[in-house]
């Protein structure tokens, strides 16, 4: 927390969100501005699948859908945006820490636990609603998390719900660690704790679970997995690769991929933050292409892409620009969401403000499940 000491700011520099809205809407094919239109009646799961991708951790409009950001997201703009219903104002009114915020996306409630504790949330997650309501087996809901610290966001401590209904969790970096004991010496330890906001969880990865996942779920030999991993440039590339393999081998109905490369912004190197956005842009399209190329998913999958939140503005005297997200200003709270899939209107731009906790009830409506304890609202434009 920084106590503001000077409140003057170069006014003309302040990015106008209405300008963002205008430009982003111009990028859609039909540029249809919808205040709120009902989408379709609720139905049963009927072979429907949902993939959620968090464009993380934390990206500003300025470097994404703002005019200067377009060059960083060519794939989102040219390939995904024309096929999507785009929400231009998604507000996160909760705690702006990645673990608690991403978990809040998954529960539909602004959770208030300590961001650095790595605890399971008190409210049921989307995975639990899905598996409990539809009596889905454990391998039908998966969570791919960027680090060990996120391993508990797949299941809550809520009564009548809980881990027995939670998601199966894959931790790609831990898989890699287990597959190659002794590799990397000290470097591997840093790799496992390479995020700025890393919740600390003691224990967890024993190696045996991870090795079984590699061999029985992903159906790789250890050596194959390591060889693939060595061709990757980042942890998120590894996550998407693991997700692809999971879709091929298990084809879960509900898949949540938490990307996190962008959070390198905390290092203060603007170029690395931009690299992270550009890589995430490419990976989102890779995921969509994998969906389209896989008969288990093609034509029946709705994909949601959204950042967990933004980052501080350049002009807030109490903030640290792109580097952090601790002011709670509009730039750090307001972001966007893209929805694609069968029945979702293409080239639609929704300009009304919605909230990030609306995700769970919306997916609930699409999948035909009750998300009774979630506090968000169904986004009628897509569900």
């Amino acid at each position: 927390m920084v106590f503001p000491s000077r409140c003057s700011s170069p006014g003309p520099l302040v990015w106008k969100r209405r300008e963002f809205l205008r430009l982003a809407s111009a990028c859609t094919v039909n540029s249809v501005l919808l205040p709120s239109l009902p989408m379709r009646a609720a139905g049963s799961i009927g072979g429907k699948k949902v993939v959620v991708v968090t464009f993380g951790g934390g990206a500003r409009d300025e470097e994404t859908f703002g005019p200067d950001g377009h060059e960083n997201i060519p794939w989102l703009l040219k390939t995904l945006l024309p096929q999507s219903t785009f929400f231009g104002q998604v507000v996160n009114r909760g705690i702006l820490g990645h673990y608690v915020a991403t978990t809040s996306l998954a529960t539909g409630v602004y959770e208030t636990f300590n961001n650095f504790s790595g605890v399971a949330p008190p409210h049921p997650t989307l995975f639990e609603y899905f598996r409990r309501d539809l009596r889905r087996p454990v391998h039908d809901a998966w969570l791919i998390s960027p680090s060990n610290g996120f391993r508990n966001m797949g299941g809550s401590t809520a009564r009548k719900y809980g881990p027995e209904f939670g998601a199966s969790v894959l931790l790609p970096k831990q898989l890699l660690q287990a597959a190659s004991p002794g590799h990397g010496a000290g470097s591997i330890d840093r790799l496992l704790r390479d995020t700025y906001e890393e919740p600390h969880i003691s224990g967890g990865a024993t190696g045996e679970t991870e090795l079984r996942q590699i061999e029985n779920i992903l159906r790789f030999s250890r050596d194959e997995f390591v060889q693939h991993a060595l061709s990757m440039d980042s942890a998120d590339e590894l996550s998407v690769y693991v997700a692809h393999q999971l879709m091929l081998q298990v084809a879960p109905s509900l898949l949540w991929i938490t990307l996190h490369d962008i959070d390198v912004a905390h290092s203060g190197a603007f170029s690395l933050y931009i690299d992270g956005i550009q890589r995430t842009d490419r990976l989102c399209v890779d995921i969509w292409k994998n969906i389209q190329a896989n008969p288990e998913y093609s034509g029946k999958t709705t994909m949601f892409v959204l950042p967990d939140f933004g980052r501080d503005s350049d002009t807030d005297p109490g903030g640290n620009s792109f580097q952090h997200h601790r002011t709670g200003d509009a730039a750090s709270r307001t972001t966007w969401m893209m929805v694609l899939g069968p029945g979702v209107r293409e080239g639609v731009f929704v300009q009304r403000a919605v909230e990030s906790i609306d995700l769970v009830p919306t997916i609930g409506k699409i999948l035909g499940i009750s998300t009774a304890l979630a506090e968000g609202r169904v986004l009628s434009e897509v569900a």
Binding site: M1, F3, S5, R6, C7, S8, S9, P10, L13, I95, G97, Y110, T112, F113, N114, N115, F116, L176, S180, H183, G184, A185, G186, S187, I188, R190, L191, R193, Y196, E197, E198, H200, S202, A229, L230, S231, M232, D233, A235, E237, L238, H266, S267, G268, A269, F270, S271, L272, I274, D275, D314, T315, P317, G318, S321, F322, Q323, R326, G328, D329
Partner: protein, 399 residues
């Protein structure tokens, strides 16, 4: 403990100047809401290690709050009084450990959904106090030069894009002897305007020689020993697993190396460099972050009249592959990434310069040695223009 219970003895653990300031304003502090009192004491407790401009600002704020009528002060501080605190928080020793209190307060405000309220209250409080205490004008017009060193290069990168609308862009700069000219100009300014802690040179690599005693200089290369110590401490704090960045920052704010490493011979400057490494995020890892954060903090805290900040190449970020293979990237630089970092750093520096009194008359130059391009912003520089033809650095400085 409530502020009402404060006494002179409460500040026994403070350094001499901090103790004097707190004691002189004891009656005021006793009247303030707990949160505001603790936040102000967080500024006061480091008083002995603060720059003259910061000291003046702190004393002005306290004097202002003291002199206004009680009803007016209550109105101004009511938002802080209305914040709801947990008993654990209110029971902390916030007088002796205000940094720790602020860390816990931040977590409490987020968790209790009061952070936005606090932000609004603190911003409007700061705005009113700033307006009433009118910040000190600079002795001479401010002058800031940002140099993107010769190793920083990325072909076809549109440099200074965010700055161009605000000044004159020079597409062809003859850089021969440019750095010598810039350091020479800094030296002239230091000689002609005797402003304590007013003239600075920060270098992200090996610095140019400076002999003028009025210039405070520090660099990435010259502070390597301190950096290693800070990294060691950061590793131990992070490795303890007891919290996140807020905890790290408050832990580092009160940390100093057991064996004092003197880099400049000036206690305040040495302590400032410790804070750049200790409280900045990434400053210990990337030289570009070091320069950007140091410049930001210099402008915010010392309110200097002259700054030269040169960016050097930063180390390459290691990929997953390299980390996994334990391939060392130390000594491997990223010239293109460094250029992008420095370009943003120049923009950030200009924004921070604009927050200071006298910014209307300030002169700002950013120059890329490798790309031979520059931008000049100031009262005589038409906005959004491009200068035809070539120019050398000496001419650029005389604009």
């Amino acid at each position: 403990m409530q502020p009402r219970a404060l006494s002179r003895e409460s500040f026994q653990a403070y350094e001499p100047m901090a103790r004097r300031v707190a004691s002189e304003h004891l009656e005021l502090l006793r009247e303030l809401p707990l949160v505001l009192c603790a936040v102000l004491l967080r500024e006061v407790i480091d008083f002995d290690l603060r720059f003259p401009r910061e000291r003046t600002a702190i004393e002005s704020r306290l004097a202002f709050l003291e002199k206004i009528p009680e009803a007016e002060r209550n109105r101004l501080t009511k938002g802080f009084a209305d914040l709801s605190l947990s008993s654990e928080l209110a029971g902390e020793d916030w007088v002796r450990f205000p940094h720790k209190f602020e860390e816990d307060l931040s977590a409490h405000l987020w968790a209790s959904k009061q952070y936005d309220t606090f932000r609004s209250v603190a911003t409007s409080f700061a705005r009113e106090v700033d307006r009433a205490t009118s910040p000190q004008q600079p002795e001479v017009p401010r002058w800031v030069v940002v140099v993107l060193g010769p190793e920083l290069r990325k072909d076809d990168y549109p440099l200074f894009r965010k700055l161009r609308p605000h000044g004159v862009f020079f597409p062809s700069v003859d850089g021969a002897g440019g750095m010598t000219e810039i350091v020479g100009e800094l030296s002239k300014r230091a000689s002609s305007a005797n402003v304590p802690y007013g003239h600075w040179y920060v270098d992200g690599g090996r610095p140019e020689n400076t002999t003028n005693k009025g210039i405070h200089r520090f660099s990435w290369e010259e502070s390597a020993a301190l950096r290693a110590k800070v990294l060691e401490k950061v590793e131990s704090v992070v490795g303890s697993g007891r919290g996140g960045p807020e905890m790290l920052r408050s832990a580092m704010a009160t940390w100093s190396p057991q064996k004092q490493i003197s880099m400049t011979g000036d206690l305040l400057v040495d302590r400032f460099i410790v804070s750049v490494y200790g409280e900045g995020s990434g400053t210990q890892v990337f030289s570009t972050t070091f320069v950007q954060w140091a410049t930001r903090e210099l402008l915010r805290r010392a309110e200097p009249v002259s700054v030269v900040a040169r960016y050097g190449p930063r180390q390459k970020q290691r990929t997953l592959n390299e980390m996994f293979s334990a391939t060392s990237a130390e000594g491997v630089f990223d010239p293109a990434g460094s250029l992008v970092d420095a370009d943003f750093g120049a923009y950030s520096t200009w924004i921070n310069l604009n927050r200071l009194a006298g910014s209307d008359n300030a002169r700002f130059i950013a120059w890329s040695q490798a790309h031979r391009q520059a931008i000049a912003i100031g009262p005589d520089c038409p906005r959004g223009t491009e200068a035809p033809g070539g120019i050398d650095v000496g001419q650029l400085l005389r604009i």
